[in-house]
């Protein structure tokens, strides 16, 4: 059933599309490679911990763990490169300059700052819940944190992988710095993704136990109206909200998404537990 007016669309559609299939797939590969990198890398960073040797053994020892780490690195770098090429495509081929600035852009803008303040005021009961656009400030932070992390961890990781090659262009003392930031950034990334990102995305009371949108690519009408009022209004006014209307995803997508998500969250929280154990028993 299609409707000609935005208001009608809002009541007739059950879901709106939010993520394209390629982006969901990329996120899936990102998840797996991230988990693989975290679980094979953290044993080195915490090599003095009793659990580190056991974890390395589970992966078949240091050699095998190193191999898995490098394999996952290649997967993640590939995800990153595909993502970058999709941005280039949108910018230069589809001429979609909206991704650089404006309501649908990932680029931080003044409204993000005001949303942050308003959101914090709402947390403590000093104001109403702010209205959000396509990307909220915490989603933008997640994105750019990962973006920066890919560059820093990926770059330093490559230096550490091929030190002899990089020594032709870089002084050897930079390897010390590469080693340090590879580990510290990884700790930041692992700590952030497995606590803050999990909470923001899945574990906060409004979403608990999880939000399937990254697996199904769709949000319910209810979610759209509750969480992204400004986007809904903007698209309705532009008469484009209908273009996003979509049926619910097939059941198997939900099942798969929930299983994969639950597994990832479990593994992630286990890793956080191990790290906290290490930090507090030091």
């Amino acid at each position: 059933m299609t409707s000609s007016t935005p208001a009608n669309a809002a009541v007739t559609a059950t879901h709106y599309r939010r993520f394209e299939r390629t982006d969901r797939l990329l996120h899936g590969f990102l998840m797996f490679s991230f988990l693989g990198l975290a679980f094979t890398g953290m044993p080195l960073l915490f090599s003095h911990e009793p659990w580190a040797a056991s974890l390395a053994r589970i992966f078949g020892g240091f050699d095998a763990a190193g191999l898995i780490h490098r394999f996952c690195a290649i997967v993640m770098i590939t995800v990153f490169v595909i993502h970058l090429s999709r941005i280039v495509q949108r910018l230069f081929i589809r001429k979609d300059l909206g991704i650089l600035w404006g309501p649908a852009s990932m680029v931080p803008q003044p409204r993000d700052f005001f949303e942050l303040i308003a959101h914090m005021r709402w947390f403590v009961g000093l104001g109403p819940q702010p209205r959000f656009e396509h990307f909220t400030y915490w989603e933008k932070f997640d994105y750019w944190a990962v973006f920066w992390g890919m560059g820093i961890i990926g770059g330093s990781g490559l230096v550490l992988w091929f030190p002899e090659t990089f020594a032709h262009v870089l002084p050897g003392w930079l390897f010390n710095i590469a080693m340090l930031i590879h580990g510290e950034e990884a700790l930041l990334a692992v700590g952030f993704i497995f606590t803050i990102h999990f909470f923001n995305g899945h574990l906060r009371p409004e979403k608990f136990p999880m939000d399937s949108v990254i697996f199904t690519g769709r949000v319910t009408v209810h979610e759209m109206l509750e969480e992204r009022q400004d986007e809904f209004e903007r698209l309705s006014n532009l008469g484009r909200i209908d273009e996003l209307a979509s049926p619910a995803a097939p059941q198997w997508v939900y099942t798969l998404g929930r299983s994969v998500g639950a597994l990832a969250v479990t593994f992630g929280l286990v890793m956080v537990g191990l790290i906290l154990f290490a930090l507090f028993t030091k």
Partner: protein
Amino acid sequence: MTRVLIRLLICLLAIAGPAAAAAAGPSEQAKGAPKPPTNDDCLACHGDPSAVRASGGSVTVKAPDFAASIHGAGGIACVDCHTDLAKGAEFPHADKLKPAQCVSCHEKPVAAYDTGVHAQARRVGKNLAAARCVDCHGTHDIKPSADPQSRTHHSKLLDMCGRCHGNEEIIKRGHIQIGNIVDMFRDSIHGRALTRSGLSVAPTCSDCHGNHDIRRKTDTASRVYRPTVPLTCGKCHEGIARDYWTSIHGVQVQKGSPLAPVCSSCHTAHEISRIDVAGWKVAVIKECGTCHEESIKTYRDTFHGQVTALGYSRVASCADCHGSHTIVPKADPRSLVSDANRVKTCKKCHAGATESFAQYDPHADPSNRARNPFLFYTSQFMKMLLMGVFAFFGIHTGLWFGRGMQIKAAARLRGPGKDDSTEDGR
């Protein structure tokens, strides 16, 4: 040589004895002075397998065993050792005789024994479990140590010492602090060579500790006294010892340093392992770290140190870069990590290493601004970044959680059907 002399002496005595008796004339014999019993006289009773003393203990001497022993073959008379009876006695003789006096012939070994830990334990500690001559050598069936049948033959000595030093009961009773050392030794590279490979050149207890004059390691005259250890090991490991004495550790030991390591500091004394097994390569790092605390701390921050901490030895450990027996200070041009040699040393693993590559600091310290300024500031920045992000989002998340729970609770109070849940129920 001594053995030949003893035999000569015995022959002389055998000839001179009767001659002297004959020269003394029949008058003295007629006085009725009792004649010392011959070996046959003794065996008349002691050769009987059922011969027992008053308390019921066996006093049998197996004639063939004695005949085959070095003493029997050398023509030693029973009374040469059991000197109580040398002047003759009424038979059957007294139930208790004095113990055989080995010292009357074996003066030097007994003198050496008297300086040793066993004699000392018997004297001072009144520890009567401590070994005497007969405990190791036996009594009537003593064979020369060179004889493979001998209790003290090189191949059997471990078991001989093990009768006490491998016996938990005696170890406890004798307060032998080091514990079951024979068990430890058996699994060492020396113990395996000795017991499994049957190598005659593999050392057994006496090769390091001596035999009769075994002294405590705290005794400056001991073969295993700390500064003497390299000399003792060097008896076999001659080339290593030569290298070692030129190393900083060897030089320090010669100067009297109580800390500089000797062979056993790294290799242990009784559990010496092959050096090419992962377990040892990884474990020995800790030994270096007992003195070089700063170096091991910074090493653990590197990939090399992390991988070895996990128990894998494929990456560089201390000795791979610094060498082992030839370690000299970095300023010494012979040092493997000296400016002149460093690239070559890196190349052992990193074939493509260059001058630039070797600028990597394998002992960088992020908290040392003077030594690693760039690393120091990077580390400070990373610390602030981590603390900043987690502090901010910790608060953000905590507050959000509180607010979210509050709304949930309020929704539950309003009753079912008005839940704020955004899940679509699928």
